[in-house]
């Protein structure tokens, strides 16, 4: 759901840019303090994976496609601030090099898919693990729900921004965006669970990395 230019008015673009720049600046400070030897390659791999996986659009009902966001995977493995940084790098490269997502809409795209998606998934995952325990099954359920929520939340925010910009009314944008992304979120959940269990069975030590 990369927002192109033309969909957002100046106010919405400016506000989301300000929040995103602030978020990135704080995340850089956080990362400076906590980054360890093992974080570095994992962050690089995570960014590379999210970029390549985002190219693989999968078909969803009714002539629509969706693709992985990946924020949940990054946020759960590395922490929400690291997730924010990784997603921001992916979105900036997609915007500047691949013309995917508008230049003026970049702040909103980072806010929706980077900041909100990372934090919603990280804290919902933590909450579910606290309630349901930390055995394999509960963990994977937590991952699935967190991934679904990240896509759903990003689409709701996108609808609100479209409405705030006068591009579409909230009564139209909210149910249609949330509806289609409720489906895309299911696939996000399935892919995230699959990759997460792959990491769990091959490099479970990566899960114990200090979160940023």
């Amino acid at each position: 759901m990369h927002i192109p230019d033309g969909f957002l008015n100046v106010t919405t673009a400016a506000v989301t840019y300000a929040v995103s720049i602030g978020g990135i600046a704080y995340a850089v400070k956080k990362a400076e303090k906590t980054l360890g030897e093992k974080h570095v390659p994992l962050m690089g791999i995570m960014a590379a994976f999210i970029f390549s996986a985002q190219m693989l659009n999968f078909p969803i009902a009714g002539g629509t496609s969706g693709h992985l966001l990946g924020a949940t995977l990054a946020a759960i493995l590395l922490g929400p601030w690291a997730g924010l940084l990784i997603m921001s790098c992916v979105l900036i490269v997609q915007c500047l090099v691949f013309q995917d997502g508008g230049l003026l809409a970049l702040g909103a795209n980072i806010f929706n898919m980077g900041i909100a998606a990372s934090f919603v998934s990280y804290y919902s995952y933590r909450a579910i693990c606290k309630i349901a325990g930390s055995d394999r099954k509960a963990t994977l359920v937590g991952v699935f729900v967190a991934a679904w929520l990240s896509v759903f939340t990003a689409s709701v925010l996108c609808a609100i921004e479209l409405a705030a910009s006068g591009t579409s009314s909230l009564g139209i944008a909210l149910p249609t965006m949330a509806g289609i992304h409720a489906l895309i979120g299911i696939v996000e959940g399935l892919i995230t669970v699959a990759v997460f269990s792959f990491v769990l069975s091959t490099r479970s030590d990566l899960l114990t990395l200090q979160k940023i």
Partner: protein, 96 residues
């Protein structure tokens, strides 16, 4: 050179980029809503093109153009984030 886990990880990411031409060409969720509700016409193209729409310019084979841009993007992001993270980590060591 000893093969590290993330060398294999990066190869897996590049393998994902190799199958990128298989991706669905249908509009994504936001584009579809824009088409159905009529506001897609407001979308403006970027004022500049580098590798627009994930098709490397000048290559006529569509699948190959997609694969090449996928490989470039994947390596680019690994490089930027790996390098950036390394830089941040070294700044911590210096205690600044």
């Amino acid at each position: 050179m000893k093969l590290k886990w993330w060398h294999i990880g990066l190869l897996l990411c590049l393998a994902v980029a190799l199958i990128s031409p298989l991706a669905s060409k249908s509009p994504d969720g936001l584009e579809k809503v824009g088409e159905d509700k009529g506001f897609i016409v407001k979308a403006k193209d970027a004022p500049f093109n580098v590798i627009a729409d994930y098709a490397f310019p000048g290559i006529h084979n569509e699948a190959l153009a997609t694969i090449i841009s996928g490989l470039i993007g994947t390596l680019l992001l690994f490089g930027i984030v790996y390098g950036g993270a390394k830089l941040l980590k070294s700044r911590k060591k210096e205690g600044t």
